[in-house]
């Protein structure tokens, strides 16, 4: 059942109206033909045929996947070790992503892009730090890491929206950017609340 759903979803994603062909300002805008690599197959002049990627697309999908691994990993830890606010945030991170996760993996499969299966150095280091930390120090480390990661993700998505050529990947990026910025705002709020609380606390 679930598999069937996934297949249908994948299909609708690939044949869906996401090719930038229609005059729907919400779908990916035409990209810059000057930025298409030589040899790109075109379905219409200037419009890359589906299932092709340029450097930006591949950099995007790779970085997004690594970030994804790290996110789930850290959120699971935070859901166990964090304070109340941090636990809520971590749950939200895990919960919010299901649909987008499916889309990313479906697209990666469709475009035959291998995805990384382990954390990079930056996130392994963060992971070690989180494992050693506890209490408010854990919360602070986790949330500060989340702020940095969400900032980077936002820039990464904006980069893909402007520089990618694969309409489906660009659409994925533009669909999830508002949520990423919302998460960033939440993390910033938790951070500023906790620093205010720390100031108020009697010394």
């Amino acid at each position: 059942m679930i598999r069937l759903f996934a297949v249908t979803f994948l299909a609708s994603l690939l044949v869906g109206p996401a090719s930038g062909q229609q005059a729907n300002p919400a779908s990916p805008a035409p990209s810059n033909p000057g930025g298409m690599p030589a040899g790109t197959r075109e379905q219409a002049p200037g419009v890359p045929a589906p299932h092709q990627t340029n450097d930006a697309d591949r950099i995007f999908i790779h970085a997004a996947a690594i970030g994804g691994l790290a996110e789930v990993d850290a959120a699971k830890l935070a859901a166990k070790k964090g304070g109340r606010r941090v636990q809520e945030f971590a749950q939200r991170m895990i919960h919010d992503h299901a649909a987008a996760n499916d889309r990313l993996s479906a697209l990666a499969t469709a475009e035959s892009i291998p995805l990384p299966d382990r954390l990079d150095d930056e996130h392994s280091t963060m992971r070690d730090k989180l494992e050693q930390a506890s209490g408010t120090q854990f919360d602070r480390t986790y949330i500060e890491g989340q702020i940095t990661d969400h900032q980077k993700t936002a820039q990464l998505l904006e980069y893909e929206i402007g520089s990618g050529e694969n309409a489906d990947l660009k659409k994925l990026a533009s669909d999830i950017l508002p949520t990423v910025l919302d998460h960033l705002r939440m993390a910033q709020m938790i951070n500023s609340e906790s620093s205010q609380a720390a100031e108020r606390a009697p010394r």
Binding site: G35, D96, N101, L115
Partner: protein, 464 residues
Amino acid sequence: MPKALKLTFTLVGAAVLGMAALADSLPPDATYRPLPTLPLGQVRANDEAEKPLVAQRQQTLLQQRYDLSDRPIPDVMMSGLRKPVQGGVRVKLPAGVTWDSLADMSPDEIRQRGLLPAGFRPLPHVKQATGGQVFPNNEIDEIGRQEQRNLRRFDVDFDFPDRFTPEFPPPIFLTSHPELGDVSHGQLLTIKNYYQLMVGLITPVQMEGLRLLLTPFPQEEFNQTEDRKSADQSLGVTCLDCHANFHTNAAFHLTPDVRPQAARFRLDTVSLRGLFNQQLHGSKRSLRSVEDFTQFEQRTAYFNGDHVSAQRKGVHLPDRFDQVPMMAQMQNMIDFPPAPKLDPTGHLDPTKATAQELAGEQVFLGKGHCAQCHVPQTSFLDNNMHDLKLERFYDIGQTENGLVMLPDGPIKTFTLRGIKDSPPYMHDGRLLTLADTVEFFNLVLGLKLTQDEKDALVAYMLTL
């Protein structure tokens, strides 16, 4: 959760949201202009084939946002009497609300219900991914006629209907000769006619400054290399190609101050009238002198703040000790259009203004808080930048026609002198009429103005 699915989740699907993380930095083209990947011939063929689609997308967006119909305000012309001023609120409301019901809601409610009128949001470039300077047809035609220089792009055309741009050519008022009024003789200043039009009116150093302001220099889309958007090799662009007759023709480009490309907001050319009283220059950069801005416009308007790309296409760096001051001094001679109903302190003369205009001034000074930033005594400027925090009203990060809509942040207060002459309004040109700006500020400042007060404000701004 079935095991297989769970595994996929952790391995690949892994939340894309919220976490990506790039141990390495983004590639250089996130900040720098990439070199072209295809021969010009192929880029051009592609661009030309895509052009109708690109235009149609933008028209769809404009139609969704605005009422573009021809509804001039009776008997109100721009200062040169060459074009009527369009009236009425043109931003379309979402279904089920009125301007009053919207004004009664909190910013949070408007944001959560997605009710901020689309026309209040940042306006995308016709082709955001490419960006660059886009000139209106009247400018293209006149420069073609006088100079045989081609300002037409093969990939995009100007998007707004002509009725929402300034009169063309705009009149020119000199601070050094107020008695003469408009000295343009109805012509567009170009490198061909400037001497004949200005000799006997301006000084030798102003004349040399004017010559430089009218001399084409290579620019990102108009140059000799394969990375250009004009069909023929181009000598480039002049300062007054956008600042037509020192006013504006509504040519636009993307802000040079932001990266990456998708986040760069549109910039509507500002008028250079009254430059002598402005202490901040540029909506974001806040440069402190006309000289600084003049010098740097070669880096920004011309090359998007990318000195690396400029180096390849041929950059003109005007000599700071001699040429820049001459260019600046010429610009500083340009006055606002006359406002016969204003007294020397910038207030309405009650013997000349109508009751409605006077009522509008009261709203401007009082309930509307307008004068707190647009100070009448100082050319309706406060020489400050303000963050209007529009993002209180909508969810940021949505993409429309390639533009990622983000908070505007602090923007310079623009003058309101001669304001009826310079549609479209705001730094990106997102508003078409003065009535639109009144609805915008009514909402953003939470003013709850009545319809009479709104109408009076518009009538008042038409006198400035």
